[in-house]
């Protein structure tokens, strides 16, 4: 150990230690973060930008510590929102900055360390995935590295939580003993330029403004910092000197400044590695990645294999998911009967109706999809953790690019099949704002898991068994096709401009561990359940109220009975419309009550608008529910019919639908539900992710307009043939 290392605990600050994890994408930073903080973490967004901020807490040598997982960045330049966020976090002067690098990619990943060192931070270097490096015959002299760098260096295996104790000790050491000015040696030319700039840097509350990092940014002419420094007192002098130094270096080396500076960083890394690294002549363990790639991204086999993988995931999601879905369904049914039994048979209690029809019916209809969601995210997390996702982007980019999208748009859109909300959140991997907005806008056209309930209800109601699978397939195909066409239209109209860089790293294949995949899966499952427990519960109650109130004072059926127009008998004959059973009378009352309610009135009011599409007020009422959340369409239809038809929900909803509407209306309905009005949660998340209401409203209005047009076309043209 180096002489710079100071015994830990005694020197630790009394307050909470603030730790920041920085590193390249794919360096295993997040699994290390999970290993450090366990369940004590919090995911939120950075203010104003769409970058996720993961923070958590843990104890380090009996001292409480907060840990922030920075978004993965290749460098600290400020081209992407992730990089800007990372810089801001570093400006906030954390106690310790843990730079996490992939031990197999030291040459490139250590560049970030050099930049972090320049900021004047208090670093700890964490050589992650050290097991792979050791297997490949790479040895690092940790003690020598610590001595050369002047701060702790540890080896870890993040996804197995190995070395976490070492890391904690190293953090404690670093926090206890602020490292001296370990200035980076970047070569004589660069060091002279920095020495000339250092005394001229303006004084500022944020320490980073006095750092070599700032001097470097000014030297390369970084637009953002140049503007900030220009506004400070004494800013002009340092900028003039930066320009002079830049010109001097460019004239002397004959390369432009950015390449020169980047070269300096790589030079530092090369020099460092030459000292501390020894490499056995063992074959690269990662050669196995090349062998897998030879098959998985094969010129001809690549796409068919990808299609198969996707098929497998969908099979897992929907076929395997059926089993637990059955359990949940019976559970919900049991709950409904149990709660129902608390009231006497035939009771018209409002409270009972609220519990059974509103809450259990509404939320139950949503929770039923939990297995689908969990399994889909299990599949996607698996693909992500193995490294196949990047290959998918490679395989699909040509197609996606043709439609003005990006290979990386594919993954969010795929996620959109599960739920649009995480899909839109996943557009964060897209660096270019324009690509991101386009992907977000068309993403709701990917038929989400919630809409699958709708298809599961409607398709068997309107189509013969042989037709069901092809119809389901077509719905997905229509959604995808429409999304691509719409993306192209957007790209050619309001979203014109140059392409964002596609340049993407293809990480080596790794076996996902039992720690990481379930973690991701449960995170999603929890998000979904929370949505069911909060938003959807509230909306279910709201919608139940809309269908229950106001109550009519008088029922037409009662008036007709009183006038003797119809008679009530115990066993009415089906042929005589003038005799009704008690049950039928009750049903009539419910139907009238619904028509009289807020929902019924809205449905009625909008009926003329939707009449050309073949919809009646009941469908329209249910579609109002679909805006709240797509899955509520089914729940709402259930409520509408249970209230309006029979006292008990014995009648199969499908049979009623098949009785009331033809196949053409069914088709028109499905098309409308596929395309129109992304649900409230989607609109809200689009607003949050795009940063503007206008995009969310364009999505809402645009898609609804297109849906109306399409359904109108299908219904009106279809009527000519039916």
């Amino acid at each position: 150990m180096s002489n710079l290392v100071v015994p830990a605990a005694s020197a630790l600050p009394a307050r909470e230690i603030r730790v920041v994890l920085a590193g390249n994408p794919n360096c295993g930073k997040t699994s290390l973060f999970n290993a450090l903080t366990g369940a004590r973490q919090h995911v939120a967004n950075y203010a104003g930008v769409t970058v996720e901020r993961r923070s958590g807490s843990c104890d380090i040598e009996n001292c409480p510590a907060s840990v922030v997982d920075l978004p993965g960045t290749y460098s600290l330049s400020s081209y992407s929102p992730e990089e800007r966020v990372a810089q801001d976090e570093l400006m906030d002067a954390p106690d310790v900055v843990v730079v996490v690098v992939d031990s197999m990619q030291l040459q490139r990943h250590l560049v970030l360390l050099a930049q972090v060192m320049q900021t004047g931070a208090n670093p700890v270097l964490c050589l992650n995935m050290s097991d792979e490096a050791r297997a490949a015959g790479q040895k690092i002299d940790l003690a020598l590295m610590e001595k050369l760098l002047g701060f702790p260096v540890v080896e870890t295996v993040g996804h197995r939580a190995q070395g976490v104790a070492d890391l904690k000790r190293a953090i404690a050491r670093a926090a206890g003993a602020r490292m001296g000015d370990n200035r980076l040696v970047l070569g004589e030319t660069m060091d002279r330029a920095l020495a000339a700039l250092r005394p001229l840097l303006p004084a500022h509350a944020a320490k980073i403004f006095a750092s070599d990092w700032m001097a470097t940014r000014l030297l390369v002419g970084d637009g953002e910092y140049t503007a900030q420094v220009a506004a400070m007192p004494g800013g002009a002098a340092v900028l003039a000197e930066a320009k002079r130094q830049r010109e001097r270096i460019e004239a002397r080396t004959g390369t432009d400044i950015v390449i020169f500076v980047t070269g300096c960083y790589f030079g530092f890394v090369d020099g460092l590695l030459r000292e501390v690294r020894t490499q056995d002549s063992r074959p690269d363990a990662r050669a196995i990645t090349d062998r897998i790639d030879a098959v998985l991204v094969h010129r001809i086999l690549g796409l068919p294999i990808f299609a198969l993988v996707m098929y497998a995931i969908f099979w897992l999601t929907f076929k395997v998911g059926e089993v637990p879905m059955g359990w949940i369904e019976s559970g919900v049914h049991l709950a409904a009967t149990q709660v129902s039994a608390l009231w006497p048979v035939g009771s018209g209690s409002l409270l009972r109706s609220l519990f059974v029809d509103g809450i259990i019916g509404g939320v139950g209809g949503v929770v039923v999809f939990l297995p689908n969601i969990v399994l889909l995210f299990l599949g996607l997390a698996f693909l992500e953790d193995t490294g196949y996702m990047a290959r998918a982007a490679f395989l699909t980019d040509r197609l996606m690019h043709r439609f003005g999208l990006h290979g990386k748009s594919f993954i969010p859109m795929l996620t959109g099949f599960g739920c649009s909300v995480p899909g839109i959140m996943a557009t964060r991997t897209l660096e270019n704002q324009r690509d991101r907005i386009i992907t977000m806008l068309v993403l709701p056209l990917m038929s989400c898991g919630a809409r699958l309930t709708i298809w599961m209800l409607l398709i068997p109601a309107f189509f013969r068994p042989a037709w069901r699978a092809p119809v389901l397939w077509s719905i997905y195909a229509v959604g995808i096709g429409l999304a691509l066409v719409l993306a192209l239209v957007l790209r050619k109209t309001i979203m014109r401009g140059d392409d964002a860089p596609f340049v993407m790293e293809l990480p080596p294949y790794r076996l996902p561990t039992l720690r990481s995949v379930p973690m991701k899966m449960f995170e999603r499952a929890w998000l979904y359940l929370r949505k069911a427990g909060t938003t959807i519960l509230a909306l279910s109650i709201l919608l139940w109220a809309a269908t229950a109130f106001p109550k009519p004072r008088q029922y037409r059926i009662d008036a007709r009975i009183a006038s003797g127009e119809v008679a009530v008998t115990s066993a009415a004959s089906a042929d005589d419309p003038r005799t009704l059973t008690e049950q039928q009378v009750a049903g009539q009352r419910k139907a009238e009550a619904l028509e009289y309610s807020v929902a019924g009135r809205i449905g009625h009011a909008l009926e003329p608008v939707f009449h050309p599409l073949g919809f009646d007020w009941k469908i329209v009422t249910a579609m109002i529910g679909a805006f709240a959340a797509k899955e509520i369409f089914v729940a709402q239809l259930g409520i509408v019919y249970s209230l309006g038809d029979t006292d008990k929900r014995t009648d199969d909803l499908r049979a009623v639908l098949a009785r009331d509407y033809g196949t053409l209306v069914g088709l028109s309905m499905m098309l409308f539900l596929l395309v129109a009005t992304p649900c409230m949660a989607t609109v809200a998340v689009t607003r949050r992710e795009s940063g503007k209401w206008s995009w969310a409203l364009l999505q809402l209005g645009g898609l609804t307009g297109i849906a109306y047009g399409l359904s109108l076309l299908v219904y009106q043209v279809g009527r000519l043939f039916v």
Binding site: Y74, E431, E505
Partner: protein, 244 residues
């Protein structure tokens, strides 16, 4: 000082150099103007303390005037030689161009031109190869500037090698990066990924239909589009093996 006054000073300077004296009529003859115009100009120059009348009709330059006249003349001589010797212009045209330019160039520009001229003098092969190049005689389009057709044997060879981009490579081929021509975010990303001048880059595979490219650089596998690959200038390595 106006250019016409500078011309007068130059003329007087030349006359004094050649015949030892200058008279109003000599100046009028040399400049092809009326004697009256010469008198007006001389009055202005006298006011500026550049010339003085020695005797009737005889004009002498003050030390300042002589300096100014010499300056204009030396500029004229250098520009004329440049147009003649380097740009191969015929005599009267070269002198005319020199007259037009000698007043407008700043001292700094003149100084740089002079040094360039001096450099060419010490390096005659450069002028020779320029004169041999078809470009030197082509009076037509300027569009051929992009690819100098055999301008200089060494340069041509260099250019031919440098004009290959990563997008020109086939799977299995490798090369050395010579220049990253991309700008903005793409440039930064490429540099961050280690795509720097003088590093080895290998194309491992290309997507169906020729896009995107799958390359290996500094141990990392990268995917980039054809358009992006074409912004990376490379020079072919000796051997075309992709393995490091």
């Amino acid at each position: 000082m106006s250019s016409s006054l500078e011309d007068y000073l130059e003329t007087i300077y030349l006359l004094v150099q050649e015949q030892g004296f200058a008279r109003v009529k000599d100046v009028a003859k040399a400049r092809d103007v009326k004697a009256a115009s010469v008198s007006i100009a001389l009055r202005k120059l006298a006011e500026m303390d550049m010339v003085r009348y020695e005797r009737r009709e005889y004009i002498a330059l003050t030390p300042d005037g002589e300096k100014a006249g010499r300056r204009v003349f030396s500029r004229h001589r250098l520009l004329t030689r440049f147009f003649e010797e380097v740009l191969s212009m015929p005599q009267p045209a070269a002198s005319e161009q020199a007259c037009a330019m000698e007043h407008s160039l700043t001292d700094d520009a003149m100084d740089r031109l002079a040094r360039f001229f001096e450099f060419l003098g010490g390096c005659p092969t450069v002028i020779e190869s320029f004169h041999q190049c078809p470009l030197a005689h082509d009076h037509g389009s300027v569009s051929s500037h992009a690819h100098l057709p055999g301008a200089c044997a060494i340069c041509a060879k260099k250019q031919a090698r440098a004009s290959i981009s990563l997008a020109d490579l086939k799977p299995g081929q490798g090369a050395i990066v010579t220049k990253v021509e991309a700008v903005g975010a793409l440039r930064q990303r490429l540099l961050d990924m280690g795509v720097l001048p003088n590093t080895q880059i290998d194309v491992e595979r290309v997507g169906l239909g020729g896009d995107p490219f799958w390359v290996r650089c500094q141990g990392a596998r990268l995917a980039l589009r054809r358009s992006e690959a074409s912004s990376i200038a490379v020079r072919q390595a000796e051997r075309d093996t992709p393995k490091q």
